[in-house]
């Protein structure tokens, strides 16, 4: 899912060529890092470079990737969403409750989970636009509220036991190797990239992140755009919650705790700036993969999860530094 692929749907050959070129140049940092990482791990842990393991990595990052999709859009607008980890937990809990306690069909439960996630995101958006709260504060509040609600709904207990077709999303492997969830996420990223690049409202996000007042004075409906972005981020967090529920066959009220930080890490490793106005989904995907590859590789090497945290922290700093240091510092 590089830009090459997204551009394949582009209208003209010129655009495509230009897109590939700029993609190759500006997106090269994180991708190069990922390749180096893979090479090193392939040498150190022979089991790393097997088809089965690589798809394991993909599957392990599906949840992170789904959340990072929304996170990228939010960060492009110069916002931040700290609530996605909690909303993931809430979405899963709501779906689980609707199915297990309310006894409704799983299809309804899925929709209910996503709707509640979207609602949480919409409330974030309303607090930020009409309530004039800084995104950090609004979503920090939601982080707490959504987690609390998830615990209340589930009474703090996991809700287990789901229909086989639902779990199939995580368990079935097309041709025996490619997990269905990976295909779904890949499709979401393609659509998301196209949205950011070709839809007026997608492009407007970069304007808003670049300079919100300029965007507003240019006739862009900034409030509406932000409401959409946070709503989408909430809905995607709930989708992540459903993926996780399917994989574990259990909705845990504490699922996704601190995942918001991994999301931010994936987005910034992927080259987006917290100052807004920049960021690409191809980069974010690479960022999520880098995190996934490190975890997987260190597991294979038998490194403890304590040390993994230290390594990932270092990688975040190094990845963003190599990006910023490449730009000449003036003055």
């Amino acid at each position: 899912m590089t830009d090459t692929r997204t551009d394949a749907a582009a209208p003209s050959a010129m655009d495509r060529a230009r897109g590939i070129l700029s993609g190759a140049l500006s997106g090269s940092g994180p991708l190069l890092g990922l390749l180096v990482l893979c090479t090193v791990l392939a040498v150190m842990a022979p089991r790393f470079l097997t088809v089965g393991n690589l798809f394991n990595v993909f599957q392990q990052i599906t949840v992170l990737a789904v959340l990072s999709l929304g996170g990228t859009a939010v960060i492009i607008t110069k916002g931040i969403d700290l609530s996605v980890g909690s909303v993931l937990g809430l979405g899963g809990a709501v779906a689980g409750w609707t199915f297990a306690s309310a006894g409704l069909p799983m299809g309804v439960a899925i929709l209910a989970g996503i709707a509640v996630g979207a609602l949480a995101g919409l409330i974030n958006g309303l607090l930020i636009t009409y309530g004039r709260l800084p995104p950090f504060v609004a979503t920090l509040a939601m982080l707490s509220v959504a987690r609390g609600l998830a615990l209340v709904i589930t009474d703090g207990q996991p809700i287990t036991g789901y229909p086989a077709w639902f779990r199939w999303v995580a368990t079935f492997r097309v041709l025996g190797v490619v997990p269905v969830s990976v295909l779904i996420v890949a499709a979401m990223f393609v659509v998301g990239s196209m949205y950011l690049r070709y839809r007026p409202t997608g492009r407007a996000l970069y304007a808003i992140g670049g300079n919100e007042e300029v965007a507003r004075l240019s006739g862009i409906d900034v409030r509406r755009a932000k409401l959409k972005v946070y709503t989408a981020a909430g809905a995607l967090a709930a989708v992540g919650g459903l993926f996780l529920t399917a994989r574990l066959n259990s909705a845990q009220p504490t699922a996704g705790t601190t995942l918001e930080l991994d999301v931010i890490a994936a987005v910034v490793i992927g080259g987006a700036s917290l100052n807004g106005g920049s960021g690409r989904l191809s980069g974010t995907l690479v960022g999520a993969l880098i995190i996934g590859v490190i975890r997987n590789g260190l597991n294979l090497l038998g490194v403890s999860s304590f040390w993994q945290q230290i390594v990932i922290g270092g990688v975040i700093a190094i990845a963003v530094m190599t990006d910023t240091l490449r730009k000449p510092a003036e003055g």
């Binding site: 655009d15 690049r197 839809r199 492009r203 670049g210 300029v214 965007a215 004075l217 240019s218 106005g277």
Partner: protein, 496 residues
């Protein structure tokens, strides 16, 4: 060329940016007590040159001397320590700090290791008084100041350094003529004390008043130099542009038609009150007034950038509500804002994107925007305003005047009915000024209505069919072109 006697000298300075040779083998010399006017079109390299000597950019080639000693500032702090004060073209004040903190930033007076706020305030007051800001409380936040006041604070800050060489990059672009006179007086005083100046401006009429020498750049190269200040303006222009440029304002065409816009009782508390006027199709309405009269506030409210507290707006006889800039643009009222850095451009985004924000919804086909369509639109607009720069460079790296051209161009394809220009030619070179006047004339020839706000009174008088004058938030009078003399306008501007 001797270097020993000069306060500052540079030889063979070269600097390239991706895709452009911004400076090409430039020599410049400033003697103590001398003012050198550095002139040239937008993008000629003037700001690049002074950014090199103030340590912001590093030259690719060439050498510099200060008092005959080799000089090569690694960063801005080195330049400051060497006694070079700088007023950058785009103000560099920290909006969320107070005026006094901005003036003394990096050199705060201390008392037992703590900032001495009393001394800080005194220091600021002394320097603010020099630029005529006697009444400004040094504790005011910069974010609350007008562009003009910010410019004066910036000058006060440079003065507070006791610099040997002061570099002023378009210091008067945001100043009224009266304030500019105050600045010139100040320059005279300091020159008497041996301070040297490099003075950049697009207001060529200022040159004979301030300059002792003139240097002209074109496409990064030094193309002319005079060791006197009273060089005829058309000679300077010929050197700058390489051809003759008409400096006259185009006479407003005889196009005034039926009523297009009527506003009644517009009020925004704290800014303006009970403003009523009309604008006809094919008419250019000038709005004059002193700084702080409420002109920009009125313009912003007309396009929904700030809310109105009372009053109605009629467009083509129908009442329209402009709840947001989008709503205003949708009914056909748009504005070119005064402050291009804060309100006109997303500086980190490409020129291409900036130029097409208002058109995003409109160039979409089946809901999709083709980048190629944006490119086409941008090239078209760039040609229309004679933009120098590439569509892919970030807007912040365009020269100041070219940034202004992007801000003006971006609304044109929306074909607005009413266009409000707030200081449209600030920082724009002679040739481009004519291009902007041409755009204004074309708009009224197409039957649209134009409102021009400018601190350059001759510009308002020269362009407008009719001049409305604001004073302290009230409309004190309207003058038809024949009666709109500088005197009559000033009379109304101080009334009320």
């Amino acid at each position: 060329m001797t270097t020993s006697s000069a306060l500052f000298a540079c030889h063979g300075l070269r600097k390239a940016f991706p895709g452009v040779q911004a400076l090409d083998d430039v020599d410049l010399e400033v003697l103590a007590g001398q003012t050198v006017a550095l002139l040239g079109e937008n993008g000629a390299g003037k700001s690049t040159l002074v950014k090199i000597l103030s340590g912001v950019h590093q030259p690719d080639e060439g050498e510099m001397f200060l008092d005959g000693e080799p000089y090569r500032p690694r960063n801005a702090a080195v330049a400051l320590d060497a006694g070079i004060g700088m007023v950058h073209q785009e103000t560099n004040l920290l909006a969320e700090l107070s005026v006094m903190e901005n003036i003394a930033i990096g050199r705060m007076p201390l008392k037992r290791g703590l900032i001495d706020y009393r001394a800080l305030g005194e220091h600021a007051r002394t320097n603010l008084a020099l630029v005529g800001l006697h009444d400004l409380d040094p504790a005011t936040l910069v974010s609350g100041l007008s562009v003009g006041a910010r410019q004066k604070v910036e000058i006060a800050k440079a003065l507070s350094l006791d610099a040997r060489l002061l570099v002023l990059d378009e210091p008067t672009a945001a100043l009224s003529r009266e304030d500019a006179q105050v600045l010139f007086g100040l320059i005279d005083d300091l020159r008497g004390q041996g301070v040297g100046f490099i003075y950049i401006s697009h207001r060529l009429y200022e040159v004979p008043r301030v300059a002792d020498a003139v240097v002209v750049l074109r496409d990064g190269a030094r193309v002319a130099g005079w060791s006197r200040g009273d060089v005829p303006t058309d000679e300077i222009i010929r050197a700058m542009v390489g051809r003759e440029v008409d400096q006259q304002f185009p006479t407003p065409p005889d196009t005034v038609g039926e009523e297009l816009l009527r506003v009644e009782g517009l009020t925004r508390r704290g800014a303006f009150e009970d403003i009523s006027f009309t604008l006809h199709r094919g008419e250019i309405l000038g709005i004059a007034g002193l700084v702080g009269a409420g002109r920009t506030e009125l313009a912003r409210a007309l396009v929904g950038a700030d809310p109105l507290h009372a009053g109605t707006i009629h467009l083509d006889g129908r009442v329209v509500r402009v709840a947001s800039p989008k709503a205003a643009a949708d009914v056909g009222i748009t504005m070119v804002p005064e402050d291009r850095k804060e309100h006109g451009l997303a500086l980190d985004q490409p020129v291409r994107d900036n130029a097409t924000y208002p058109m995003l919804d409109h160039v979409a086909e089946r809901g999709l925007v083709r980048p190629s369509a944006l490119n086409r639109l941008t090239s078209h607009l760039a040609a229309r305003v004679e933009l120098r720069g590439s569509p892919t460079q970030t807007a912040g790296t365009l020269s100041g005047g070219n940034q202004q051209k992007v801000v003006i161009a971006k609304w044109l394809p929306r074909e607005p009915e009413v266009v409000i220009f707030d200081e449209p030619t600030r920082g724009v070179d002679v040739g481009a000024k004519q291009a902007i006047y041409r755009i204004i004339t074309e708009l009224v020839e197409q039957g649209r209505g134009v409102i021009v706000i400018s601190s350059e009174l001759p510009e308002v008088l020269g362009l407008a069919h009719r001049v409305a004058v604001l004073s302290r938030g009230r409309l004190t009078g309207q003058l038809p072109r024949a009666e709109a003399t500088e005197q009559a306008v000033m009379q109304l501007a101080v009334e009320g």
